[in-house]
Symmetry: C2
Subunit: 244 residues, 2 copies
């Protein structure tokens, strides 16, 4: 029985990868992924065969991985961050629905919400939501509904894909929805290029976030009503408890 | 300047740990944590000094870590899963508010929502919430409000601390709230003892989940309206897109 490993690499650098991910990459006959992510690991696995495609080549890569695994080869499909959270694991499961002789092993990784939170302090110390602002595959009304519900529930919110060239005002629109339930002084933060060269982070208010310049390599975190700023970092205490 | 590393170990086994976590444990003079988690790594670091306390000893451990770091020693505070998500990072930041000469480094790890999702398939393929049912530090009304909002937003939901001896019916109460917005056929799943001996998982409907026997070592995932079951695994496609 051949295998497809769907591997979360974590943020950029090798140091953020789990040993399970390394073991899966080592075990695979071929590594398959988006060109940019493949380049991140090529040096570490010089003996491996690679199959890469560019941006938006997800379906092509996954279809190729399933067909190749059917021929008896073990394939590792790589994703940045986690392999399941907006990652390739879903597409692989969908495409391998009938390929019962191919075993699918999802190898988790540190997703951007978690690595961005670590840089910003401890904003995910209590209940939170993860929402992508990309409407490439999701109607904007669904995204709006989720933003509203996340505000209503007083969740901390991690926002993926906050902006792109064709969606320059999406973060502003998201902030406007969140402001229906959240104070404009709510502490927020963002991290750009986590674990890569040029990493930068900023702590700011929800009001300031509206005009922040973010790109598709940025992860944004919006606090809950109990999130506070300590030593220029975001902290959401667990519950409403206070130690003293 | 001394350091406190707040380190997420990931689920049980060493293989799920990042290299960054290992490096932090190695760099620290003393490792501090809950006895059970300390025992998981003791063998790997036989030369290290350990400071451990039992369950609910969080505040004592964190206060000890801050005081010890103030004396110039580097301390690693360990957490299972991630160090920020319901982890010790918040408490360390709060307690070290005035200890400006102690540098705090949060080292992220694979949290239970992500590792459980990987075992169950790819349920977190689209927007999701993480909610703890523990009312030890959070009023039950806040938890109820969040469950309701999560249902309203049609999020996939990862539930932490779904039950304990004193809260035997909490998961049932949570399911009742979710059923206001979600169908009773919604695909759900749970994983017990992720990455540890005796790991077990189950796929079931929201109706069946109401009567499931879960404990505090179980992570539960409740699907969204687009979550489906493929080859006995949960899959939430990204958006409402269908490849063909």
């Amino acid at each position: 029985m051949s295998r497809i490993y769907v591997v979360g690499l974590g943020p950029g650098d090798e140091i953020f990868r789990t040993k399970e991910a390394d073991a899966a990459l080592k075990a695979a006959d071929i590594i398959c992924g988006y060109t940019l992510y493949a380049d991140l690991i090529r040096e570490q696995f010089p003996e491996k065969e690679f199959f890469t495609t560019g941006m938006r080549g997800e379906e092509k890569r996954c279809a190729w991985a399933v067909e190749t695994a059917k021929t008896g080869k073990d394939v590792a499909v790589i994703c940045s961050g986690d392999s399941g959270i907006y990652g390739m694991a879903c597409l692989i499961w969908e495409m391998a629905e009938k390929a019962e002789d191919v075993e699918i092993i999802v190898v988790p990784g540190v997703t951007a919400a978690v690595s961005a939170a670590a840089r910003l302090g401890a904003p995910l110390g209590h209940d939170f939501c993860v929402i992508s602002l990309s409407d490439l595959l999701t109607p904007w009304e669904v995204i709006e509904k989720r933003l509203f519900a996340a505000g209503l529930g007083d969740f901390v919110i991690a926002i993926y894909n906050p902006s792109s060239k064709t969606r320059a005002d999406y973060l502003r629109r998201a902030c406007e929805i969140l402001l229906k339930e959240k104070s404009e002084d709510t502490p927020c933060g963002y991290v750009r290029n986590i674990g890569r060269e040029g990493e930068e982070m900023k702590i700011l208010s929800l009001r300031e976030l509206m005009d922040a310049e973010v790109d598709m390599f940025t992860t944004v975190i919006v606090g809950s009503s109990s999130t506070k700023v300590i030593r220029d970092h975001l902290v959401t205490p667990r519950g409403y408890h206070r130690w003293k």
